[in-house]
């Protein structure tokens, strides 16, 4: 809003200064209205009442730290489970997705685009439907259990589903595309000539991978693990369909508090604590991994 911008002679320049802001405006407004303000509202909701000593007669509001500490302390187990399951699922997904992404980037030739779409294609059958399919495949009436039964590896009393292992397997399956796509896009940017050069310098395939491919694909590893870990930690569908009451994750608790018990204060406090932990983990991880720009 200074004189040079307003003067008619410099008009093309002023348009150039305003242009990025004009491009940003609608999207940013949307994110501020429907992401930032709601998150702040959530924080406000989390102190609507004092969680530790709730007294409906006075209707006293809670303190920030008091309520957050209370929410965390009373739900330590589901919090811990969420992060352990999500970590395990992320590592499994990384092991499965890396060779997959590597193959699509370097070995797929003209099928590259088709294979990439195949990675996203499961989204179209619906996440819930696929999770239910896993439950039935691994369930007592499913083919896997029948086969193991015939091989005398399991008995009628045992079960594969309704276990922590099944929840982790479900999580790693469901977020596999989120791991594969960023891995692919960082691998695809690697110039194949750098790999050839490494071979010319007498590095074997393993050394080439360890010293050239892996370091160059690190941004994809960081993005992929985050895009898998975050939704996996917050998920409650897998724990609900493939788990049992002792595999309850924090997502199940928050969901139940919001939609069944309607204890909005506790639900909001739990959500906020959860989000703070996630963001702390993300920031720590990014600073350790040393990638500057994620988006």
């Amino acid at each position: 809003m200074n004189a040079t911008v307003a003067s008619p002679v410099k008009k093309p320049r002023s348009r150039k200064i305003a242009m990025p802001y004009l491009l940003l405006l609608p999207g940013m407004l949307w994110l501020i209205t429907f992401f930032l303000i709601p998150i702040l509202t959530l924080v406000k909701t989390s102190v609507n009442m004092d969680l530790a000593n709730y007294d409906p007669t006075t209707g006293a509001t809670g303190s920030f730290w008091g309520n957050f500490w209370y929410a965390f302390r009373t739900h330590e187990a589901p919090f811990a489970r969420s992060f352990i399951y999500a970590l395990a699922a992320t590592l499994i997904a990384l092991c499965i997705a890396y060779p997959l992404a590597y193959g699509i980037a370097f070995k797929a030739g003209r099928w590259k685009n088709v294979l990439l779409v195949l990675v996203v294609a499961p989204f179209f059958t619906s996440f819930i439907l696929r999770t239910i399919a896993w439950k039935q495949i691994l369930g007592q009436q499913g083919p896997v259990f029948r086969l193991l039964l015939d091989l005398h590896l399991v008995t009628y009393q045992s079960h594969i589903t309704a276990s922590a292992g099944a929840v982790i397997a479900g999580l790693s399956y469901n977020f596999l595309p989120f791991m594969t796509l960023p891995l692919y896009s960082s691998l695809e940017r690697i110039d194949p000539r750098t790999l050839e050069a490494s071979g010319d310098l007498y590095a074997n395939a393993f050394t080439t991978f360890r010293k050239v491919t892996l370091p160059l694909s690190l941004p994809g590893v960081v993005a992929g693990t985050l895009l898998t870990f975050i939704p996996a930690a917050g998920d409650y569908v897998n724990a609900e369909i493939l788990g049992n009451p002792s595999t309850t994750m924090i997502g199940n608790v928050i969901n139940a508090q919001f939609l069944r018990t309607s204890n909005y204060t506790l639900a909001a406090a739990l959500s906020f604590v959860f989000m703070v932990i996630i963001i702390a983990i993300v920031l720590f991880y990014i600073s350790r991994a040393g990638t500057e720009e994620l988006v």
Binding site: P20, P26, G103, S126, L129, A133, W134
Partner: protein
């Protein structure tokens, strides 16, 4: 020896890929197979082959209207999110401006926030503002979480462009607008198409955020969830399978057309 190990290395990746895709498609194959099951009440045990479910895909109450909701919401949310996200991507990829870190943070945060928190916080504000939950609150939520993914996808495409192409156009006396219309935009377009496809698939598949903000409106994932306990009808498998097959056919057709065009 070196040749042998290299050959093995090459094929090891191929074997891994086959295994990886098999793993990815096992539950889909199961879904497709059980869409042909002659089921009674719950579709759990194989009882014999039938075409009946495919002949009556809408034979269960609500299923097709819910699918319609999902498609409508997906299309509207994709359209809005793709436009808003592409504009942001161009601002980030083509201009220097103050406040870039703040913009980057605001793009990154929705992807770093668990869906549950996004859904729950939107629900709190809709309740506080007295919005009627339903079709449009779902659309608003979907646009919100799709924008960031569109920005990231389109921005990567813009960053991969060779700046010399645009310089060449300018050297040939194209003005800024012409350069954008005839060089930049056509080159970025595949990225925008990819972003739109991603946005649509994220919207179509979303359950957690939708479940918070849907009110009484039901989408296809909500239908599956609500009916899972009573026993899912095979028609849900039919719809899940056909959406998957339709998406696959569209992409394969697009691939063939673009290859023909390249040859011609």
């Amino acid at each position: 020896m070196k040749k042998l190990s290299r050959w093995f290395g090459k094929n090891l990746i191929r074997i891994y890929m086959v295994l990886g895709f098999t793993y990815l498609f096992i539950p889909i194959l199961y879904t497709i197979v059980f869409s042909f099951n002659d089921y009674i009440k719950s579709n759990l045990v194989w009882r014999g082959f039938t075409w009946h479910n495919w002949q009556t895909p809408c034979g269960v109450p609500n299923i097709c209207s819910d699918l319609g909701n999902s498609l409508k919401i997906g299309l509207i949310a994709t359209f809005v999110a793709t436009i808003l996200g592409t504009l942001i991507a161009f601002a980030l990829g083509r201009y220097a401006f103050k406040g870039r870190p703040a913009v980057n943070t605001l793009i990154f945060l929705p992807m770093a926030s668990p869906e549950l928190v996004l859904g729950a916080s939107l629900l709190t504000i809709f309740i506080n503002l007295g919005f009627n939950l339903g079709f449009w609150t779902i659309v608003i939520a979907h646009v919100m979480f799709c924008i960031s993914f569109v920005v990231v996808t389109v921005k990567a495409r813009i960053a991969s462009l060779d700046p010399r192409l645009e310089q060449a156009a300018m050297d040939l006396y194209a003005n800024e607008r012409e350069t954008f219309r005839r060089i930049t935009f056509p080159l970025v377009a595949p990225g925008i198409a990819g972003a739109a496809l991603l946005a649509f698939s994220l919207s179509f598949d979303d359950f957690i955020i939708t479940n918070f903000n849907s009110g009484t409106v039901e989408t296809f994932p909500l239908f599956v969830y609500h009916n899972a306990e009573r026993g899912l009808p095979a028609q849900a498998n039919v719809i899940g399978s056909s959406m998957f097959l339709i998406a696959l056919i569209i992409v394969l057709a697009g691939q063939i057309v673009s290859r023909k065009r390249k040859i011609a």
